[in-house]
């Protein structure tokens, strides 16, 4: 198994991973959608139910100024293929998308976290969350300004 960070400058998504897993999609899907399993690899959940629009929370360790709560809402469920939910911490709203594709040896899993336009909250279905980093240009700029 290999974990590759795809967030190299040529990529457009700010936070994107693609992992080749030697496990069938059914098993990977279970790890992504079973609250007991989620608690074991991601974070403990409260109120997780696999239904569109379902709200739940993830509990991270509290930090000064933040109680550790991540507020989530399921916006897309395509069994064995795609799971997408919002990821809200304070006033920062992002969306996390898991995509599964069967391969000869198991599953290709992609994990992407990106920002989205806050006023599209009411329009999850059709909205493009299109916030993307403009490749590595922003990071190049920051490096150049140092």
């Amino acid at each position: 198994m290999s974990l590759s960070d795809k967030t190299v400058p040529s990529q457009t998504e700010a936070i994107a991973f693609r992992i080749e897993l030697r496990h069938p999609p059914e098993k990977v899907w279970r790890a992504l959608t079973d609250p007991d399993l989620l608690a074991q690899w991601l974070l403990p959940t409260t109120g997780f139910a696999l239904e569109p629009g379902g709200a739940f929370t993830l509990q991270a360790p509290p930090q000064p100024g933040w109680d550790g709560t991540v507020n989530c809402r399921l916006v897309e469920i395509e069994p064995l293929r795609k799971l997408r939910y919002t990821w809200v911490v304070g006033d920062i709203e992002t969306v996390v998308t898991f995509t599964l594709a069967p391969t000869e040896s198991g599953t290709a899993l992609s994990v992407v976290q990106s920002g989205f336009k806050p006023d599209q909250k009411q329009n999850f279905g059709g909205a493009r969350y299109g916030w993307k980093m403009m490749g590595g240009r922003l990071i190049d700029l920051l490096a150049r300004s140092a």
Partner: protein, 109 residues
């Protein structure tokens, strides 16, 4: 994960708009006056000024006046909260995806 911060949120909101993103991206190629941007984009001058004001409010661009013209340029340090945020979440997902891989090894088929 980090504490909610309106600096990050302002950057997210500023860059969420495709037109603003395009204007910002254009400015990364060099300083420009409003009229230069108007020539480049099919947007009215007031709309461009509004986008520039939002980018400036988010700390992403700066301006300087030269005669009757105001020139805008990217403020690279303005991106630091966003870069920090991204760095944080890259580390978060790297760690947790590692845990997912270990968990899958122990699960029943």
């Amino acid at each position: 994960m980090q504490t909610a911060s309106s600096a990050e949120n302002r950057i997210f909101q500023a860059l969420a708009d495709p037109s603003r993103r395009a204007i910002f991206e254009s400015l990364t190629r060099g300083e420009a006056a409003v009229k230069d941007l108007k020539a480049q984009f099919d947007i009215s001058q007031p709309a461009i000024s509004q986008h520039l004001a939002a980018l400036k409010d988010a700390g992403l661009v700066n301006n300087r006046r030269e005669g009757r013209l105001v020139y805008y340029r990217v403020e690279p340090r303005g991106l630091k909260p966003l870069i920090d945020w991204i760095t944080h979440y890259r580390a978060f997902w790297t760690e947790h995806i590692g845990r997912l891989e270990k968990l899958l090894e122990t699960m029943d088929e």
